[in-house]
Structures are given as C-alpha cells and as structure tokens.
Chain length 544, copies 2
Amino acid sequence: MRSTMMDAPLLVSRILEHGSTVHGTADVATWTGAGSSRMTYAQVGATAAQLAHALRDDLGVTGDQRVATFMWNNAEHLVAYLGVPSMGAVLHTLNLRLFPDQITYIANHAEDRVVIVDSTLIPLLAKVLPAMSTVEHVVVVGGGDVAPLGDSAAVHRWDDLLRDKPERFDWPALDERDAAALCYTSGTTGHPKGVAYSHRSIWLHSMQVCAPEGFGLSPADRELAIVPMFHAMSWGIPFAALMSGASLIMPDRFLKGEPIAQMIEVERPTKAGAVPTIWTEVLSYLDTHDVDVSSLKEVIVGGSACPPALMAAFKERYGIEIIHAWGMTEMSPLGSVSRTPAGATGEAAWGYRITQGRVPAGVAARIVGPLGERMPADGRSVGELEVRGPWTTSRYIGEEIPDPEKFRDGWLRTGDVGTLSADGFITLTDRAKDVIKSGGEWISSVELENALMAHPAVLEACVVGVPDERWDERPLATVVLREGATASAEELREFLGERVARWQLPERWAFIEAVPKTSVGKFDKKQVRSSYAAGALDVTEVTR
Amino acid sequence: MRSTMMDAPLLVSRILEHGSTVHGTADVATWTGAGSSRMTYAQVGATAAQLAHALRDDLGVTGDQRVATFMWNNAEHLVAYLGVPSMGAVLHTLNLRLFPDQITYIANHAEDRVVIVDSTLIPLLAKVLPAMSTVEHVVVVGGGDVAPLGDSAAVHRWDDLLRDKPERFDWPALDERDAAALCYTSGTTGHPKGVAYSHRSIWLHSMQVCAPEGFGLSPADRELAIVPMFHAMSWGIPFAALMSGASLIMPDRFLKGEPIAQMIEVERPTKAGAVPTIWTEVLSYLDTHDVDVSSLKEVIVGGSACPPALMAAFKERYGIEIIHAWGMTEMSPLGSVSRTPAGATGEAAWGYRITQGRVPAGVAARIVGPLGERMPADGRSVGELEVRGPWTTSRYIGEEIPDPEKFRDGWLRTGDVGTLSADGFITLTDRAKDVIKSGGEWISSVELENALMAHPAVLEACVVGVPDERWDERPLATVVLREGATASAEELREFLGERVARWQLPERWAFIEAVPKTSVGKFDKKQVRSSYAAGALDVTEVTR
C-alpha cells in the first residue's frame, strides 16, 4: 500500500529557502581581525541566488558540474555551501592543508570547473592551479593582487560577478539522491578518496545536528564554527544553522587562541565546535588574560579525543562543558555525541564523558571481531566498529565495487577498534591497522602502551604486532627509558602483568633511543615494524 | 552525479531497533488508577517482535494488511504502534470517540483485518464489530468478559497469543514510501477521509518532534502523552520517544483532572501534550489540592488555541510553560510550535505565544487570497493557509485525483484562514468556510464576533456570510443580549465601527434568543445561514 504523503524531496534549496525567510534576521558574523562583518540569512539567501546566476549565466556552469571552494570559514563560503548545491551543481570543498600534489589530484579527480578562493589564499592556490587541468574559472573573494594566479584559468572578482544579479533564483527540482557536495579523505596510503553527499543525506544529517542529542541548535543559539569548512563539511553546522535559525560566528583565517578568545567575548557564542588542540591554546590564553566567555556553555570537540584535564579545566574555571563527538568524512560526519545520560552523576557521568559518544537512530553500529564475527554490544568485547545509515557512504567516488577493506555487507568498516555498550556508547582505543591479531583474539597496542608508560622509568612505549608462527601475531614492546632511569624487560613485563591479561603480555622487548614519529607527530608504527623485520632492533625475549 | 551515500531506507523498524537497544532502559509507564505498570523500551522491542510473530503466524497477517487498534494510551498500544508497521503491516488507529457508523465506515474503508482492543472498551467495540465486514480477528488486551464481542470475528487474548513467541523478529526490508499507518479525519460533512503515513514521513516527522524547535525530546525527558493515540498519531510522540530515548507516561483511560494531577506527582513528567480543555480541569484541581507538579516544565497544547488566562495561570502559579502547537491529521500532524524567538520579551514575547507557532524547514507555508492569489508573508495579509512538505498528505486514500477543494498545485489547503509573518509564525483566525467573501476581499467572522462580544450588553454574537447581489457575500450579525441589557443594531454597529474597517461592518442584524450549537458546543453557522435563507430571522437593515 502506497502512502498518500507528498513526494517532497529533501533538497538543500529548501534549507536555504527556510533559513533565509523564516530565520532571515539570524546572521553570520565573520571575524576580520578587529571585529566582525555581518550578513543576515536573508542576505545569504539573496547572495546565494546571485552566485547561482553568476555561475550559470557568466561562467556557464550547468547540470552537476563541480564548483570548488578554497576558503576559510566566512560568509561567502556559507553562501557557496548553500547556493552551489541549490542550483544543482556540486560543491567541492578543497582542503587547503593537504600537500599540493594531493590538492591537484583531488581537483582533477573531481573534475572541478570553478574554484572560489579567498584572496588571502591566492599564494597557496597559485602553486597548485596550473596543475588543475579541468578548472576554467577562478572567483576571488576580497581584494588583493590576482596576478600570481596566472592565466591557466579565467580570473573573476566575486563582487564584480555578483553585482546587479537578481536576488532570487528559481531553484530546480532535483532528485534528493543527487550529489550535493564532495569531500575527499587523505588516507595515510594511496590517493585521497572522495565521498559524494546527497541532498537527502545533508538534510537528514542536519536534522540530527539540530537534535538535542546532536548539537541541540535552535534560534536562541550562536554557534562558533571553528572547525574548517574544508573538513568533513564542517560537521554539517553550516546547513544545520540555516535549518534551525541558529546564528553563526566564523573565524575566517584567525585560528589562534587569542583571536578565538576575542571572538567569544565580542560575538558571545552559546556553543562552539573545534578540534581539541585549539582549545588547549584558548585555555592558556584565558588563564592569562581577562576575557568574558560567559556566553559560551558548550563546546563540541571532534577529530581526536580531548584530554580529560582540559575538559575539567574548562568546566571548573569557565563553566564550559566540553563534549566529545565522533565521526568520519565518510559519515557526513556525525557518528556520535557523548552527552551524559540522565541520572548519571560523578564517576558514572565521567565514564560516559570520556567515550566517543552515543549513536543516534540514523547510525546503526556493530562491533566485528578479528574473524569477521559479530561481537556483543556489552561495553567489553573488542572489535572493529562498523556503521551504516542514511548519511554514511556506501563506497568511494569512482569505485564500481566497494573496497572490501573499507566496506563489508553494506556496512562501513570504520578502521577503528573499540567497544560498544548496550546503551549505544562507543569507546575507541586503536586504529584497526595497529591492533595485534593474536590467536584469533585482538590485543590493543594502545592499552599496552598506556599501561607501560605508567611505569616511572618509561618515557615512551610503542607496541606493534610482529609475525609469530604459532599465534599469527604477537606484541613487540619498544621502550624509551627516561634519562638516568633503568628497568629490565622482566621488570616491565611483571609491571604490565598487574594491569592486563597474561596472554596479552609481550614476549619481545627492545629498548630504543626514540620512537620514530610521522609528520604529524604520531608514533610511526610502520617504521617500527620494518626495523624489526630488518633485524635492526636489539630484541630481548622474555617468556617466564 | 549520483551520491555515494548508502541507500538506507527510513523505516519504523529502525526506530524500534534503536529505541529498544540504545534506549532499552527508558520506559513507558501506564497509569492503572492507583500507580503505574511499567515496560522498558527493551521489553517494548521484545513484545513488538512477539506481536509480529503472533499476527503473522497465528492470525495470518501478510503483506500490507491493516491491523487496527481500538485502545487508550498504554504500553500495549505503543507496542502496536511500533510493531505493526515494522513487520510491513499497516497500523490503523480507530478513533473510539466517533459515531458508531463512522467507526464502521472507516474500518470497512480501510479493510481492517485485525482489531486490537482494550478489554475496558469491549462494550464500545461490541456495538460496531458486527458491521465491520473485513475484520476476522479481535485481540483483547487485559481480562474481562469477551462474550459481548459475539462471533463475527475470532477473539484472542493478547497474553495467550504472545506467550512463548520469540522476542526477536527479522523485520523486513521495506520501501520507505510504503504505508506504515492510517488515520481518518472526521470532516463535518460527508464520510471521514483517510491519509496513509509512510515510514519515511514518520521518520522525518519524528526527527522534527525531537528537534529543539519541536518538542525538544531527549533521554532526560519524561513525556506525559495525554493526547489520545487514536488522534493524529498522538502527534508523533510514540515514535519520537523511541527515537530520542525520552520515557513515556500514558494515562490509559484516566483522562480527568484528578488522575492527571496524580500522574504528574507520581511519575514526574518533564513535558506533556494535550488539548487545552484537559488543562483547564488540571488547573482547577491543582488550585484546590496540594500536588507536587514541580517536575513539569512545559506543556504543548494543540487541537485548539489555549485561552491566554490559562497560559498565564500555569506559568505564574506552577512555573509551567504552555506552548501552542498547530497541525492537522493531514500533516502527521505537526505544522508549527510557538516557541518565542530569542530576544523577544514581555509584550513582544506574548505576541508570539498566542500565535499558532512557527513552521520548521519541513513545512513550507503560504497564504492564498480569495481569488487564488499569493499573499505576502507580512503578518497582516489575510488568506487561506496552504502547506506542503515531506510529512504532509498529497491526497486522501482512494482519491485518483486530489480533491481540488483540499489540494491546489501540490499544496494542501488547510481550510484555515489567517496570516503568516515574515519570520514564519502562523496566526489563524477563521475556518475558510466561515470567512465572508465580500467583493474579492475576506472578512473574518471571528474578528467581528470577538469585537461584538466585547460590548457589555452582548452575551454571544455569531456572524455569518449571507448572499449579496452586489458583493457576493456580506456579513449578517446575530446577537444574543445579556439578560436585562438593551442595545440597538445602530449602537452595536457604531461600537464595531471603532474596532474594524468600515467596509467590513454588517448591514444585516438579528437579535436572537440563543446561538445554535453543534454537538461539540461550537457555533452552528450552517444552521444560522439556513435560518436566514428560510426567512426565519427577524433582520434589521442598518447602512448609515
């Protein structure tokens, strides 16, 4: 039996239309270094229409052609976020922090036809533009010299292009499953891989961002969106703001502790979102300056776990709640938010706060063991986290068949290992590739490392899985001792034995000068494994 | 360009699965007259699976067959709400307050195959069951004599049927646009008309009910769902509760002021929803008894506007915010909620509170004038409200072509007349059929009545449109004077002239003994018009 409900597609243009009329007096403030420039959502709607006219009539953008952005968080980027998908074109947010060859690879792979760029980013774009083979037009927002962009593409000024364009656009009726926006992930190996969000997935994801168990956005909110709009659709905040009527505060290129603290004092956000590292800087600025941050009640952090000490410091000194969220570019990106369940207080509440959070109805989650077996959601059984739902990708762009390393039976393999509790809270401990597969069981390298680093003599400990004839893999512990400290492998193994199950204890130990690190400062486990394979480590065997 | 997002359908079974696992410890409390019985959402999930097994295996329910409920608000009704659509069958909530011939018409029109009934409602069902020609099975919840049900259908006991059934069901993969539930509206003329909600519309509507600008439901909430589950899917609260993890408190058949007040004291709801009339009763009980209602922060009222005095009394005496919501069975039903915008205080806030509320992104709204022309959303221009969106119906069940009286160009004509403000707030004044169409303009009969009833001599005033050669229609004012009071038509017309535009002033006046009323106590305007047409009124003409 078919329903009688209207066949009303979930389109970004409807979010834009709603936000720019019903919430037309809400606004986006863009930090200029000294105060803000301001654009109401009514103006966002009018400017988005002008942009669509300019792209279609002047630059010849038709159908689902890709329009890229190479921009900081600001009002014009917000206009592009809403306007480009609304006209049926596909928004592609280029991550300006990637290596130049990754940026050009991505632009070429997506076949970007237009790039909108902040004038402050012209020097950066100039380096990669000549290698972008499909880009025909560059639109520059703001003043400044455009000469470095050369002549590989036609260069236009945003203001010139939009001037006198109509402030209304007859947004087309689209299929809600059409692509609305692209985002590429920069894996550690191989080329970046892209996902294509649909109008439908953006709508459903936005509703979840607005939900009380999401970010809880309403017209009473002013959201400071620090997470760059070139990262994972800026967690969906730009769309959710227009949907809910929450005003936005955008930091543009001012991402240090001091300007963020100033923005909070001047623009009085109620909520904010950013990676934890920025909040460390903000905290140290607040601790040494007199800044009024009383408007800010809640900060969502994602990207990596927040140090508990930072969470406690913000709460105790400034009354600001820091809340974990977890997600992936492949998930639009919101996967979970760690709001404490009603009734949990003290230690119990803290136990929830440090998890990656609880999944909403739109994210089904399961834990899968080393042999592909389903593990119970009991908060103890460890396995790889797999997810599915209407805002999770089923494959990467260009894949005929989903990569079995990343997808299994219609589920996304997150590559993260951890537990899922009966009440839907995710706790992640390892990347799947760093887990040690031993005799059909998984050993967490991170757990062993943390336990080892609690020993007073240990400065750093890096644990990796190495081949073992009987068990497939066994842990190898590489240890850096503190200057002047001594400890034997036997002593450390005994210390560890008081903290983890006996079968997890490493038999192979190596004392090293320093743990090799990647370019972003993480343990380079690949290099530790190859040093071991090459016989370059002085390994002690302890099995007692 | 197609998106890479998963093709994950929005199904009621996913809401059930999420609610009964992630929020498995949340619960539904059903009032028993003295305390509550309690069922966790984990048990709701298990019982829904048992119900699905019983319906399929014992009663032979297949495909999209209709399973009706004839029930109060209780845990078993919640199980049916989730379980019946999850198995692919279609839930049909029968409104037990309708006339018997309407109930049988509806059950026959929907071709209900099973009716689940509360044992306390057996006497009522017994009256209509013999005329339900498609019903083969009746499932009785609770004890009591089933003999009155006769033998026109097989009678089963809920407990017997579900006993020993598996607590898991392999919910089928359905099309999200399949019908999940039916609801019929009892129009004032003709047969009731049905709408068929889809899994998709229920999902999207539930997300809006959960949204901060909806009911704002989270696991911290305990929602007292007084609005009967046989009315407009009980405003979507049963689905939204499982989706959000909010616990539920169900009054069963105890709908008077006293038990409701007791439920509030014992079960400590944070929020509630019901028509205004119930709150009048609750208020008078609270004012005369010592009851702790401190848990209750917010009450959503719908169905009709709440008297401002009632809103003020609850706020001042009990700290409870009464908030208007507006909707229709045709809209799942949520159309708008009147939350005050940030920054509006005092008189300005009150101006928002008394509206029908603000539309969300999922409800596009427009005002259409008497000639079918689009009116501005300026808060002043009066016309019929038309809406559209993914949880609004496009037609009634069985209609090949949508009835043009109810649908226009893909929009639902609400039959309500009023204004729409620039910031999306709806203010409704009249039913379209009661508006007076005069010379291409609309005159609000309700506005004239309210203005007239402000005159000290006037007890009641009922204004209707009557045929006029020159203007199509003109207002006729029928007036009941207070006992002992006197006032001439000239005097009343002059009084009115200070309050409304001159061209709206009635030329035709009749003093009557009493305004005829419908069975639910509303002015019976149809009868006033026919009395006038039959020349049964003593009409004075005043045109000065």
